[in-house]
Structures are given as structure tokens and as C-alpha cells.
């Protein structure tokens, strides 16, 4: 499984798709966008921070673990840090796989694990 992790302080730009093989049947992309209402309050955006080297290590562990359960060919993961305005993407994940079931299951579990174990924090404006 080919994996790539990026952290960026500027808007996430999705790299163009280039399929590693003709056996990829499912290309799944997820973008997580900052919503205008945070706990019922209108916000201009969110600040994100990370323990970046540890986040990379945790992500690699999660990729390996989930890749065994849900075999996929490629994972591209990008998280924005710093201020992210409402309507822009804080997170972008692309998963390419032979079969859609593996791609969908890996995507769902990866985002769950991200929100449990990967040292990234959103900090609201007032902090």
C-alpha cells in the first residue's frame, strides 16, 4: 500500500489522480470542511494545531492496521494547520482500492481513528 501524509498551512490542493495500476476499481475522496456553526455559535473559522511528527507516526500505524482489514492500494492524507476559514477543507483523504467496500470501510475507520488518536487539535477562536 502506497501512503502519503501531508500537513499544510495553506489551502489543501488535491493532487491530480494518477492510478498506480489498472486494477484500481474504486477511487474515494473525502473532504472535511469547516462549518459555520460550532456548538451553535457562528464562527469565522477554526485554528488547527498538531504534534506533527507524532501525528505522522500514529497515522502510519493506523494505515498499516486498517490496511490489513481493508486492503487498499493507495492512501493520500492531507490535513491543514493554522487558521482554516469556514467553507474550506481542513482535511482531505483519497483512497484508491480494487474494491469499493474496502475503500469505504477504510475511509470510515480512518476518520474515526483520526478523531480518537491522532494528535491534531482544533482550537476555537476565543482560546
Amino acid at each position: 500500500m502506497k501512503t502519503k501524509i501531508e500537513f499544510t498551512h495553506v489551502p489543501i490542493v488535491m493532487p491530480p489522480q494518477s492510478f498506480a495500476s489498472h486494477e484500481i476499481g474504486a477511487a474515494l475522496e473525502f473532504a472535511g470542511l469547516v462549518r459555520e456553526l460550532e456548538d451553535g455559535n457562528k464562527i469565522p473559522g477554526l485554528h488547527y494545531e498538531a504534534h506533527e511528527p507524532m501525528a505522522r507516526k500514529e497515522l502510519e500505524k493506523i494505515f498499516q492496521e486498517l490496511g490489513v482489514k481493508h486492503p487498499c492500494e493507495e492512501i493520500y492524507f492531507s490535513h491543514r494547520l493554522g487558521f482554516v476559514p469556514v467553507g474550506e477543507a481542513s482535511l482531505f483523504i483519497r483512497i484508491n482500492a480494487k474494491h469499493r467496500q474496502a475503500a469505504l470501510a477504510l475511509m470510515a475507520e480512518l476518520i474515526d481513528r483520526l478523531k480518537q488518536d491522532v494528535p491534531i487539535w482544533k482550537v476555537s477562536q476565543t482560546c
Binding site: H51, P119, W121
Partner: protein, 77 residues
């Protein structure tokens, strides 16, 4: 020996620094080190600790680690 302590999100506010180097001993645990360098800080049940960028036990000696990080509940995505 020296240890770098990193803090994030609300723990940075609580401790008043983002990263700082302290003296410590290999047989000290993260809990003991924080009691010494930040006596007012209580990790409670929700703040985890990472030693050399791996989740670790609050009560296990740090050995020859070079970094301890406070990991409050994460909220990426």
C-alpha cells in the same frame, strides 16, 4: 539528563509554555516529572502522555527518552 516537554491546545494554556527543556532522571515517570515541573497541573483522566512520540504510561519510567508530550483529547478532522 534532559527532557523536552511539549504541550498542545488547552495544556499549553494551562502550563504556559509550548515546549521547554527540563532536567530529569531515567527512572522518573511522566507523572513524577510533571508533579515536579508543574505542581499545579493535573492530567485527570482525559489527558494522555506521549513519550518519544508514542502514547505511553503515566507511571512508567521514561528511560532514555528525549521528549514528553501532553496529549489532551484530540479533535482533528
Amino acid at each position: 539528563m534532559k527532557i523536552t516537554i511539549l504541550t498542545f491546545a488547552q495544556t499549553r494554556t494551562q502550563l504556559g509554555f509550548g515546549g521547554k527543556v527540563f532536567d530529569c532522571e531515567a527512572n522518573e515517570t511522566p507523572r513524577e516529572i510533571f508533579r515536579r515541573v508543574a505542581p499545579q497541573f493535573d492530567p485527570g483522566k482525559t489527558i494522555r502522555v506521549a513519550v518519544d512520540q508514542e502514547y505511553a504510561d503515566w507511571d512508567k519510567p521514561i528511560g532514555n527518552a528525549s521528549e514528553i508530550a501532553l496529549i489532551p483529547p484530540v479533535s482533528g478532522g
